[in-house]
Symmetry: C2
């Protein structure tokens, strides 16, 4: 079994690769900076934004399965960046190249931003309307629609929710609080009343790997299914670090345009994909905090 992974060096991709390798799969990665290979990982230098590159990779890697994670996710910019159009085009080209060489399965990565979030309850793959309102989510949703309609291979779509973990951009919530606490600096926060679904990226990577190797089709939420407020996340990090005194709630304004609740229904992930051993939130946060402690001077 040979799996081609794009975005393999990213926040989630690195853990998907690790999980695939642990399952004895031959992993091929396509990356602009592929680095050194290993007996179980074949690395190909490739820029998927270059026309024709997808087909060249396909001819070299000849994968049975594609796990396509690569996309622009530059913090603070990606929701409205026009290179979402380039990544959509690159994704279509990858799907077309996969079709041309007879790849059997294609798993793409979507986002909770595709949903029209319900005010109560959780986002459900079948029941919750799709109504993306950012260029990022519209482009992701468009990719799903088009590839699904191709009907040329087994196709699944992994919708990621809120993630945290090692290597996270320092301006994002968990990394921001954890790094401040690790540095003994105050963490400025809003009241943090909004509720989100947070998952450790290592779990997300493992779930993607299992999903790639499964034959589950259609959209699947990759998430914890647990609701936690932003304030609770910060408080837990305060307790883990023993530095709750550094948490400064209310120092930042609450954003009025934030949806109050974004939480996933995860029945498909558990029952159909078979991913049912996520880390506890406290364990993930503690390990993330430890990671930051080792990073700060």
């Amino acid at each position: 079994m040979r799996v081609l992974v794009t975005g393999a060096s990213g926040f989630v991709g690195r853990w998907a690769v690790e999980s695939l390798v642990a399952r004895g799969v031959e992993v091929h990665v396509a990356s602009r900076h592929p680095g050194e290979g290993s007996p179980q990982i074949v690395r190909h230098r490739a820029d998927l934004l270059e026309r024709g590159e997808a087909r060249r990779i396909m001819d070299r890697a000849r994968p049975d399965i594609i796990l396509h994670i690569a996309w622009n996710v530059d913090h603070g910019k990606f929701l409205s960046a026009e290179d979402n159009l380039d990544w959509l085009a690159a994704t279509l080209e990858l799907a077309k190249a996969a079709s041309a060489v007879g790849v059997g399965r294609f798993v793409g990565v979507g986002t909770c931003f595709e949903y029209c979030w319900p005010a109560e309850g959780n986002c459900d793959e079948a029941a919750t309307p799709i109504a993306p309102t950012t260029l990022y989510a519209v482009a992701k949703d468009a990719a799903r629609r088009v590839i699904d309609e191709m009907n040329r291979f087994s196709f699944a779509w992994a919708r990621l929710f809120y993630l945290f973990g090692r290597f996270e951009h320092e301006h994002r919530l968990v990394a921001s609080v954890a790094s401040k606490l690790a540095r003994d600096q105050p963490a400025l926060l809003s009241q943090g009343l909004v509720v989100r679904d947070f998952m450790d990226t290592r779990d997300a990577g493992e779930a993607l790997a299992i999903m790639a190797l499964s034959d589950v089709r259609g959209a699947v939420n990759i998430a914890s299914g647990m609701d936690v407020s932003v304030a609770d996340i910060a408080k837990r990090l305060g307790e883990i670090s023993g530095k709750s005194r550094l948490l400064n709630f209310g120092a930042l304004p609450d954003r009025l345009d934030e949806p109050p609740r974004i939480v996933a229904q995860v029945q498909r992930l558990r029952d159909e994909v078979g991913f049912n051993s996520p880390r506890s939130l406290d364990q993930g946060l503690a390990e993330t905090y430890e990671w930051w402690l080792r990073r700060v001077p």
Copy 2:
């Protein structure tokens, strides 16, 4: 006022260009086979499927408005052809290039196949659900969704319905019947009970031109708003040609999977775009028949 037209040599595009020229607009066309220019038409050699080509055209033409008609519409293939993905990617690249140079307006061309056709009544831009079921229509719809979300210029989306006229592929309905009659050959037909909205391509081209020069935004049906059965179309051609005896209804099987009715609501086209002087169906059919008479030996 400078308008860049893609697909300018096609079935509809040629008439859009003619109509723009008649309105005194400076027309730029981007085409793989641009041919000779004229005082009012600047022709650029361009293959929009080549990466970077959209931006090069934009730098050369510097249009105020883009009327993007080009797409693969090979008869018998285009509904499921995978190069719909290439045309979607090319369309996104055109939109991104337009955004980069500050184009003020972008009019794209969609299709009645984007709609979930109602069993009764007409397809309405606001009220009829969007539910494309072919790769062609899914890709068109995806283009609309993404470009609309860019929100970088005035954007409108022209949904074409059933067209007929000169230069039509001979295997399509009107051309097929008209060319057979012109050759004094029998025209084999089903019972022809399904009802469609037919418009002369010259009208469709003119409507596109007016729409490009307007500031109407969003989806607009480009259609006649009149329902006519396929059998009626054939009967009228029989009367026009005086060769009704060559019409052989029932010689071909009725297709069970054909939607019984696809007809447009055209209020937006009439009242907002201001296109309200279409040819009569009989006039269009008569002129099409005359054209075929001149073509056959």
